[in-house]
Symmetry: D2
Subunit: 299 residues, 4 copies
């Protein structure tokens, strides 16, 4: 294990999460420079504000790009900056052997980077980050449910489709708040877990037998599960919150026709808890570094 205070890290672009990540890495003792993060974000004194982007990038051992790396396939995603820097420029300015970390690195970028002798790692594909992200996602979902309804979570009947990471954390939270939680899932082992964890566990094929009792329906399955048949069976004041990434799992058009209030809540971690989300990315980055023998401090 290398204890390497001289390790140079560049943090480029991104939002509050990325700024918090920069601050935290600097507090941990790394030499951190920030680029494209100069507007409306708080950066601590320990973080160097990079003046010369090319030089900063060229001298960094590790370059951390935001989540997502880019929204236009050309420039680094940098909503808190007036500067623009292209992904291509970052790659070509990086020194050979540098480690490039980012969220949602596409295949083109991956190929290009490797041709230049760089190592690219998509931290969003790390299982531990996906697990940790379930926490702000669940809190955000609960906050939406609280905001949109005139009743307490306590005493409500919630249904959750799927029993993956988000469902597990969300179910636990709702149960602890006094809701009755029905989990609809396919696999027998998932249903066994849901039952052990205090939920009513039903096969996904039986959803319709339970929908009339449901006050809040959280979907986590990215497939069209909540179709006309299911939506029509809901009570008129049921709230539907779709947490599944695109294409989602709700027939939104149909829900609108049926006057079922439906909210498609995407990318909650960055929206409801950017500080915590930044902290989680930082922990994941540290894990990636530690696996490569790079570590700081006594832990």
């Amino acid at each position: 294990m290398i204890h390497d205070k001289a390790l140079q890290i560049a943090v480029i672009g991104g939002d509050l999460r990325q700024a918090h990540l920069a601050n935290k890495l600097a507090q941990d003792g790394f030499a951190v420079s920030a680029l494209c993060l100069e507007k409306d974000v708080y950066l601590g004194d320990e973080v160097q504000l990079g003046e010369n982007a090319k030089k900063v990038i060229g001298t960094s051992d590790v370059i951390i790009l935001p989540l997502p790396v880019t929204t236009d396939k050309v420039t680094v995603n940098a909503p808190f900056s007036e500067h623009k820097i292209s992904v291509r420029e970052v790659l070509s300015s990086a020194k050979k052997g540098a480690l490039i970390l980012g969220g949602m690195i596409d295949i083109d970028m991956q190929t290009k980077g490797e041709q230049l002798g760089l190592t690219l790692i998509d931290y969003l594909e790390r299982e531990e980050l996906a697990v940790l992200n379930a926490v702000p996602t669940s809190e955000g979902a609960v906050a939406i449910a609280m905001r949109e309804r005139s009743s307490t979570i306590f005493g409500s009947t919630c249904m959750i489709t799927g029993y993956g990471r988000i469902s597990k954390v969300l179910a636990r939270m709702l149960l602890a708040m006094g809701a009755r939680v029905i989990v609809a899932a396919r696999k027998h082992s998932d249903l066994a877990w849901a039952k052990i964890n205090g939920c009513v566990a039903i096969p996904i094929s039986k959803i319709k037998d339970y929908t009339s009792q449901v006050d809040i329906l959280f979907n986590t399955v990215p497939a069209m599960i909540l179709d006309e048949e299911i939506l029509s069976s809901l009570s008129h004041d049921c709230l539907v919150i779709d947490l599944a990434s695109k294409p989602g799992g709700v027939d939104f058009e149909m829900a609108k026709n049926l006057q079922i209030k439906t909210i498609w809540a995407l990318s909650l971690p960055g929206k409801v808890a950017p500080i915590s989300a930044g902290e989680m990315i930082k922990d994941t980055v540290l894990n990636i570094l530690a696996e490569r023998g790079i570590t700081i401090g006594p832990n």
Copy 2:
């Protein structure tokens, strides 16, 4: 026990809570008339819309006034109505022996009513309603904390002053969401309970030893506890949520000077969960009626 379907109940004024109460009592089989509740609220078909207020009041066995009964000491509090009816009129129109229920009945009204041969009961003084109200209050407090901060409740350090009804429910909720909860209370037995329930329990005199670690401080004690000394010891991004009724427990002026974000959250149940709050009032009203031998249905 009297099973009395013919019992006449008048529900007068109030907000969504009172409307929900009317609906629920009617669904339970009581004969319910509503007065001063005609605007922007949903009343079910089972509820009679009282046309002639005097007649409705004069023929009712039980009259349910809102919470609070009045905000101007003269008229019944009726934000969802264009009609006005005075408290005095209600009392003088009621038939002898009628039961008048309301929230926050003052001493004048009590005396006046009793002189007229009426029985007046303040449902807000019922212990079970105070207990039940702790649920929407706690959910509302958590919702505020989620909305105002950029971090998750999970992983945060929360301090709660006092260990009464609200604190107990709130602490349980925060713990279940993964917060560390410090309870500051006076009585040894309260501290013993807080410890058993999973909190860090500290005497109220030691608050200052812990404040620097606190991310969210919930006050439930209606006395000036959070004074300059305590407020100055908080970290700059600590959020203070005061749940104590007037005069509150925070030196708000000082908090403002110190740039400590402070929210005084009063009357949360009616704001965040009027349906549930109405349900709770209904349960309490049913308890009051049952104690007087009036009951409906198989339970």
Copy 3:
């Protein structure tokens, strides 16, 4: 607050709890002597073994007697000793102004002590000790249920009568293990709490409507609640655990006739967790001393 390392404490008689108490007080920095505790118990090096009982008692500022102080109304309860010392002798040997602490001090002893210029305090009457004792009692009750049955607590239906200290802790434990918990209580506010805490809450008058579903019935009410009528309504393999102090709340004779397995579990803390029980008495003793201005160490 007096920081008084020279304070002399005598710990007399008792069982493992009392021995643990002596050890802990000595570790906290008090000068502790033990009497009538020489057999089969572990006393640390910091505890003085009193040779001359009269001298030890006569020079002590605080004298801690066991729980209960006596079982025969004459001698101090000392199962781990071959020596006998009478309560009367302890009182008459104590120096004027000494503080005598004990569990279950009777009125005669209280009077006699006060006549001799002593201050007697029954620590068992301290609310915080009663609260803390609910933990080992509940764990002991769960352990009995596990040992006596061939099914898991998970998935079982438990009924608890009463909703005092033990019930609150026990209910929480059972719920967390996945049981369905029915609480039968009298007061509306207790029922409100039970409901908030995740239990099915029923008035005590309705017990019989639920008994046929019950797998384990825990009684905490010290009055004959489980009479022939209730016992006859239980399923034949229901387990009854009576946690109420004498006279208990079960018609044991009738239960035997009906072949209902019934266990009267008394004084669980000292039996199932003497170390923890001793720790709790110690904490309570420290609270008593602190209220009198006697304290040791930084807390």
Copy 4:
């Protein structure tokens, strides 16, 4: 889906679990015959006692063998019977196309059965049964900890090695009882889950930094983790409970030398909760049947 009341099921040998399974399947409406289960077990009236083993086996559509199927590789494991029947005999008497279910079917039996045109399924390899078994295992582990120690689980520090099925359930139970739980695991994602679920999560390589604080150490990893170095670092009154199947994860010889109390708790479900364990096998059997289109009743 076939609703087939005429389906013939033979339940052969085994212990209380198998007897409970027979009763439950009969209550569900299947035609159930029991063999080798005539001593000291309760079989309901709905279960046929097979007189002629050969005939019962030859006419059954489904044959359920115990867990484990055999302990001597020759006869069916039947501790509650004076009859002996060989596994070979069962297979050769079964009718072609019959479904044979059993726990721990070895490769020889599998091959032999298939040659005879039978379908053999080992229900112990079903993920849902493994998940459900974690509940009685965890309750049994907690019961051992309660029985062997003089302190409460509340307030104790527990360490669990590994974060698989048993650990997840056990950790939740201990946390709910008020223990501090340290989980030592290898994978970053397991550590993330442990942290989310309220545990202190540490890499397995850091165990030794925490062992001195541990009161109860539960091992779930079937590899020699608790070697001399770790065992020597434990406090002298730490209790070690090994829940890992053979070869276990503790150097028992060394633990004995170091006078560390160590309990190797194997096969807890059948021991501590045979009724529940039988219920779980039944649920799994029903899943297996349902997947083959065989079902009974409205669910």
